[in-house]
């Protein structure tokens, strides 16, 4: 993985020193909250319901054991012993003290981490396929490109005061595991007929109150021109964006208002101009960064057979383990969705267990998935049983990946000052309703996603079953949506009808699921059945 050079380290250290001084001045009364707020937000420090919340960037979801142990240390020393992984592959601590925040940033800088651009009108943490570098189906590791773009866009003056936040995602496989088309700027690495590497480009996606799926603006942008193309997109957005209305500032709104054809035309015009400026990175710089992402030294001649005699292990193996590009290796997914637990939450002790496993069994690498789970990307198949046993000992061996209980849920009204309704209790009640492992496996892949407000941090627009919490005259109410997806066949979920209270929404979900079970054809997932039959039958089953 990427290692800071002295420029990176100097920049991050300088930022910590700046923030330490700013915090001192705020506490001393030399700055008002209005003056201080944009400064703390630029360092990922929000004020939430119960305390300050610190959002830590995990670039393209890649961590090593040293970093995860540091996060465990921070959880234990400065927070309340746990952290929360988000749908942007970040980690949040929800009980931070302002007076300690500079010390935490300094601790993070020791392990090459920071909170820069995790808030505000900036280019946010760049996300990637969480199987990057390991997936059997990828063309190449997308992370060098994500890192290149991260470096080119961090502190870039033209991108420091964007009209609104801007989210980039890079994948390199046909299967989209990263909800790429729900981003402002989605990239898929492809090869053309000559075998050259380039990008399919998908601008204009995003969730929130006005969801749009990104469209394809270019079939093939040569790899060494991608930064110019990104600049062209941002330049068109910067030129036209509605800075007078926060609800119309995201780039997706501009794409919608201009139309895809006109937006593409203007981007291509700007692209042609920017290309001539020669601002793309030189090959040598790409090579320097790509060298950090060289595959680990995989052993050869390993056995592919796995002893499946332990039935519980066999269930986990079938559900949570994915194919790896190297023979004899596998990708092990760690579910952070235990029944009655809180999705995405992980204790300091669990972080240390996972860090130990990454160090011992996965070339010291691990990944954060946007689904709020963790991944050990490079595990020898012969080590999977030992890994599973250690995970089970730490309460991390739930065999429910992509099943009905593997629910994405934002922190909701239990933590978030923007939320209108709680998300976590709804996720817990649904998980409990479907807790029977046999029932979960019989239902197969079924992605439920819950947001506590219209900002859609819980990705409800992309849920096979989506749930949106709203405030109805001071009480929590939940809208039910069906038919969304964040995969390579991205679709936007549709609202079924009137909302439900907390218990009612659980019953409604069960009625939808049972309807699917009744009418599904052989091999059909929930989303397949929905696409085949449409909304009407489901609506009738839900509302009677």
């Amino acid at each position: 993985m990427y290692k800071y050079d002295h420029y990176d380290q100097a920049m991050v250290d300088a930022r910590v020193a700046d923030f330490r001084d700013q915090t001192r001045r705020r506490i001393a009364g030399q700055m008002t909250d209005d003056q201080f707020k944009p400064l703390r937000l630029k360092n990922g420090l929000y004020l939430q319901l119960h305390a300050y919340m610190l959002r830590i960037a995990i670039p393209y979801g890649t961590l090593d054991s040293r970093q995860l142990r540091k996060l465990a240390h921070i959880a234990r020393t400065y927070d309340r012993g746990y952290g929360h992984f988000t749908t942007r592959q970040n980690l949040q601590f929800h009980w931070i003290k302002l007076e300690q925040a500079p010390d935490i940033l300094a601790e993070l800088a020791e392990v090459e981490m920071h909170c820069i651009q995790t808030s505000g009108e900036s280019i946010r943490n760049i996300s990637a396929d969480h199987y990057a570098g390991a997936a059997a189906d990828e063309i190449m590791d997308p992370r060098p490109w994500a890192e290149m773009l991260r470096q080119m866009t961090s502190f870039h003056p033209e991108f420091s005061y964007l009209p609104r936040k801007f989210k980039i995602c890079v994948i390199a496989a046909e299967e989209d595991r990263a909800a790429m088309r729900w981003h402002d700027f989605g990239l898929r690495i492809v090869k053309n007929e000559a075998g050259e590497v380039g990008f399919e480009v998908y601008p204009g996606g995003g969730m929130g109150r006005t969801p749009f799926i990104a469209y394809k603006s270019a079939d093939f942008v040569p790899q060494h021109q991608i930064f110019s193309y990104l600049q062209a997109v941002l330049r068109v957005w910067n030129r036209h964006a509605r800075r007078d209305n926060i609800h119309k500032q995201r780039m997706k709104i501009l794409v919608h208002e201009l139309g895809e054809e006109e937006f593409t035309r203007q981007v291509e015009e700007a692209f042609e101009h920017i290309l001539r400026l020669g601002t793309d990175f030189p090959q040598a710089e790409y090579d320097r960064i790509a060298a950090y992402f060289e595959p680990p030294a995989f052993e050869t001649g390993l056995r592919d057979e796995i002893d499946r005699s332990d039935p519980d292990f066999a269930v986990w193996l079938d559900q949570n383990v994915a194919a790896h590009k190297a023979p004899g290796y596998a990708i092990a997914n760690i579910s952070l969705k235990p029944i009655r637990g809180i999705g995405g939450d992980i204790t300091a002790e669990q972080m240390e267990v996972v860090a130990d496993l990454a160090e011992r069994y996965s070339f010291d690498e691990l990944r954060v998935a946007h689904t709020q789970n963790l991944v050990l990307p490079h595990v020898r198949k012969q080590d999977l049983y030992a890994v599973w046993q250690a995970l089970r000992g730490a309460g991390l061996a739930d065999a429910n990946l992509d099943l009905v209980t593997d629910i994405i849920a934002c922190p909701g009204l239990d933590y978030c000052s923007l939320a209108n309704a709680r998300s976590i209790p709804v996720a817990q009640k649904i998980a409990e309703r479907f807790a029977d492992p046999a029932r979960q496996h019989d239902l197969g892949e079924l992605k439920i996603k819950i947001s506590g407000c219209i900002n859609a941090c819980g990705h409800h627009h992309a849920g096979h079953i989506g749930i949106l919490g709203v405030d109805r005259k001071g009480t929590e109410n939940y809208q039910l949506l069906l038919g969304g997806s964040g995969d390579e066949h991205t679709t936007q979920a549709k609202i079924t009808g009137p909302g439900f209270d907390e218990d009612g929404i659980v019953d409604a979900v069960e009625r939808a699921v049972e309807h699917y079970r009744t009418i599904r054809e052989s091999g059909e997932r929930f989303i397949d059945t929905y696409r085949r039959v449409g909304m009407d039958g489901f609506k009738e089953a839900i509302y009677g």
């Binding site: 705020r26 119960h50 003290k97 007076e99 009204l413 976590i424 209790p425 001071g474 009480t475």
Partner: protein, 99 residues
């Protein structure tokens, strides 16, 4: 009644105006009447509170102060999904009165 709440500037803890200063316990909250904004201006200038605001609340027969909106009831007690992290984890009523 009208109650003043906000977050402690240094720690971020949820705090309630008790008539003389700030308490972390909602039951200490005092009725600020129409003077809430004035008190907040003074306290904000003195850097003792961050993001302060005035809310509606009611005092029950048991004397406990109950904020009118669920968001402030959750702020007052803690996350409903983590009873171990509420202000009064030993309180058998913890969690139930929030909603």
């Amino acid at each position: 009644m009208k109650v003043i709440t906000g977050n402690d500037l240094k720690t971020g803890a949820v705090i309630w105006w008790d008539g003389r200063g700030w308490s972390i316990h909602v039951e200490d909250a005092a009725d600020a009447g129409d003077g809430g904004e004035q008190i907040l201006a003074v306290e904000d200038a003195a850097c003792r509170v961050n993001g302060g605001y005035v809310i509606e609340a009611e005092r029950g027969l048991d004397g406990k102060v109950r904020p009118a909106h669920i968001k402030d009831r959750i702020r007052a007690l803690g996350p409903t999904v983590r009873p171990d992290l509420t202000l009064k984890p030993a309180d058998p009523d913890a969690g139930s009165w929030v909603i």
